[in-house]
């Protein structure tokens, strides 16, 4: 929703007027050149709640880059808008490139919207960093040369939680019921879950596809009880997860609830004592390393609450983009793609550095399973998760939790 262009235009105009009266034309030309970057993220609908954190993260990154002199002396002109739905997302992406002069695009949480933006990016030969979409298909059969993927894919989330569940003896020989979001992301996650269940001798005795606008889960909970599973598994997204977990606690069903997808923003929205079980996460603000601590401190000071994982991912992505433009001295798509395809390593505030895998353009990085803290151990209402050991275990190859070349059908046209 926020458009910076007019305000920055005014500022640029003021700078121009001021500078020309004292006569420094060189500064004027440096001020006027700007790097326009298009950012799309859902602010309405079932992903809007976590989208709002994403926007806080990207704004902070842009402000920091601009305050420290911009990229190659040019200020970033961030155009950040509500992507709303897949159709609107692609229309806005097209307009940002065609009319607003964006040199590249990034953002998005919905896998369905991300897919349509990827197509716009490819058609216009502009780079797009898909920050929060987790569907395997985007970096698999739907991959293209212009699109990069920053969040962990569904397969990694299933592996992260699955490993933790196996250690607790909750998989082998157990009966699962899954509740799945009825769009590309959910279907994709269910596929990964099914592969995991069959590889680990678990049976799937029931699966419910649930529309993204459902807010009342009671009829589904009655069906879950009818199926009498050993474990209930949540493959939902955004607000759906929050609503399900709240109502699961309300009904008090005796089966443990676990899930292959959760964003910490959704967990924070659940209220006290509702969440339990084991879930995956890509990043959490209690991760203990200097870069992460500094980011969390700056963010908390500015907004009065810790950053959510989408704030983090937008923040590091814009920083990676800035680094790439600075080092290649170019905003041309081919130069940027070549830079990332060298598998350049980036500090993304985790123990191990991350890199974009050259052949499928996904950011290879650590993930974490987590469980929920008992209430009396929480420092504040955001301090509700206990991170498990990073996956893959220290010493193992980062790529060991990612689909291999034979498993991932990504074939980029040159």
């Amino acid at each position: 929703m926020t458009r910076y262009s007019r305000r920055t235009l005014l500022k640029a105009g003021a700078a121009f007027a001021g500078a020309s009266t004292i006569g420094f034309p060189a500064i004027v030309s440096a001020q006027a050149a700007r790097i326009k970057i298009g950012h799309l993220v859902p602010l309405t609908g079932f992903l809007g709640a976590i989208g709002s954190y994403a926007q806080l993260g990207v704004k902070m990154a842009a402000e920091e880059i601009n305050a420290s002199g911009g990229i190659m002396g040019k200020q970033i002109d961030l155009m950040s808008e509500d992507s709303v739905n897949p159709a609107t997302a692609s229309t806005k992406a097209q307009r940002m490139i065609e009319q607003d002069g964006a040199v590249l695009l990034f953002g998005e949480i919905s896998s369905a919207s991300s897919l349509t933006i990827m197509q716009v990016a490819e058609r216009n030969k502009k780079v797009f960093f898909s920050t929060g979409a987790r569907s395997d298909a985007l970096r698999g059969k739907d991959c293209n040369r212009y699109s990069f993927h920053c969040d962990i894919p569904n397969t990694v989330m299933v592996n992260a939680v699955g490993t933790a569940l196996k250690q607790k003896g909750m998989v082998k020989g157990k009966k699962f019921v899954t509740l799945t979001a009825d769009y590309i992301f959910g279907h994709d996650l269910l596929k990964a879950a099914k592969a995991f269940f069959s590889a680990n001798e678990a049976t799937l005795i029931g699966d419910e596809l649930i529309a993204t606008d459902v807010t009342d889960f009671s009829p589904y909970l009655l069906k879950v009880r009818q199926a009498k599973p050993d474990v209930v598994c949540c493959n939902l997204a955004g607000n759906q997860v929050t609503n399900l977990v709240k109502q699961y606690a309300e009904f008090g069903l005796p089966y443990p609830l676990v899930g292959f997808n959760l964003n910490t923003g959704d967990a924070w929205a659940m209220g006290e004592g509702n969440l339990s079980g084991t879930w995956p996460t890509v990043w959490y603000h209690t991760l203990d390393n200097p870069a992460s601590r500094a980011f969390v401190e700056a963010f908390s000071k500015k907004h009065g609450k810790p950053p959510e994982n989408h704030a983090w991912i937008e923040y590091i992505t814009l920083k990676m983009i800035a680094q790439a433009i600075t080092e290649t001295k170019s905003t041309e798509s081919d130069a940027l793609i070549a830079y990332f395809e060298k598998q350049t390593q980036f500090d993304i505030m985790k123990a191990r550095k991350a890199y974009f895998r050259s052949w499928d353009h996904q950011l290879v990085q650590e993930a974490y399973p987590f469980t929920v803290k008992p209430k009396n151990e929480m420092k504040d209402k955001w301090d509700m998760l206990v991170l498990g050991e990073a996956v893959p275990a220290a010493g193992a190859e980062l790529e060991s939790i990612y689909p291999t070349k034979t498993q991932n059908p990504c074939n980029m046209k040159a």
């Binding site: 649930i210 709240k246 606690a249 008090g252 929205a269 509702n274």
Partner: protein, 291 residues
């Protein structure tokens, strides 16, 4: 066995219908009396939820579900006095526009006051869990909602049918000119009805906050369902709204039982079918205001 579970879905659907009823009935009342389709109704629901979460922090859940509707009802007085009153005799399109803008302004205000990320709320520990009746399972909390809805329903019915206040309101709905000719000012009655209507929406918000996500756009979400209920029941019909709310809840529950993916679409299909057969809704023939 299958029949037992189906019955469970039917009963659960009735409870869900009660949940919709609280919001739809107020919408219908305001329409009947003032001829205004209140698109801001969802905004009052959202305010009810947010205010109740705030009150819960300090005074507990019990006080919140009482005080939050009262607070929102008082806001409703201002809403009627300063906004709605100007539009009773105007083109309905104007009141649609003004209430729609008010809905957007309220949503934005919530964003500014409480922030865009959702706020958290939970059910008090004592109300959690299920109650079993034989093999039937009910959420303890929803049974409480059902009881509250029943009390509200009876209360509103008695108010409209057994008091002099109700007689004036009903007469005002049928023949406002005649009521005026008798020397009765309808204005205070309108104010009271709007206060009651938005208060009921806020009561709904207060009760749903612990079991659904509390976020700025929650009003826009609920208003669609509320409209479907009012349209199916027949604009302005008390029992029509009651019947439609229950029907929507049950149809949705049964559809989800057999065809989960069609669950959300089912209520719109129901609306379509009802309107094909009865264009004015199930019990909507008594409304004559705009004909």
């Amino acid at each position: 066995m299958q029949f037992g579970f189906l019955l469970e879905q039917v009963v659960n659907g009735l409870v869900l219908g009660g949940y919709y009823l609280l919001i739809a009935l107020g919408l219908s009342l305001i329409f009947s009396v003032g001829g205004i389709v209140n698109l801001a109704h969802g905004a009052f629901y959202a305010l009810g939820a947010y205010i109740s979460v705030e009150i819960t922090k300090y005074l507990g859940f019990g006080s919140a579900v009482v005080l939050s509707p009262v607070a929102v009802g008082l806001l409703g007085i201002l809403f009627e006095r300063f906004i709605l009153r100007r539009f009773y005799d105007a083109d309905p399109i104007l009141s649609l526009l003004v209430t729609f803008s008010l809905a957007m302004v309220t949503e934005q205000a919530i964003r500014i006051i409480w922030g865009a990320p959702p706020i958290s709320a939970g059910i008090p520990q004592a109300l959690r869990g299920s109650v079993f009746l034989g093999d039937f399972l009910f959420s303890r909390y929803r049974l409480l909602i059902l009881a509250v809805v029943a009390v509200v329903l009876v209360g509103v019915w008695l108010l409209l049918h057994k008091t002099s206040f109700g007689r004036v309101v009903r007469a005002g709905i049928q023949r406002p000119d005649m009521v005026a000719a008798l020397g009765i000012r309808l204005q205070p009655y309108m104010t009271a009805i709007v206060m009651l209507g938005v208060g009921m929406a806020a009561l709904g918000g207060a009760f749903f906050a612990p079991i659904t996500i509390v976020h700025p756009a929650m009003g826009a979400e609920i208003i669609t369902v509320a409209f479907v209920v009012v349209v199916i029941g027949g604009l302005g019909s008390f029992w029509g709204v009651v019947l439609a709310a229950m029907l929507v809840g049950v149809v949705r529950g049964i559809t989800i039982h057999f065809a989960p993916a069609a669950g959300e679409a089912s209520i719109y299909v129901l609306m379509f079918l009802v309107l094909l057969v009865r264009p004015r809704g199930l019990l909507g023939e008594r409304i004559e205001k705009f004909e």
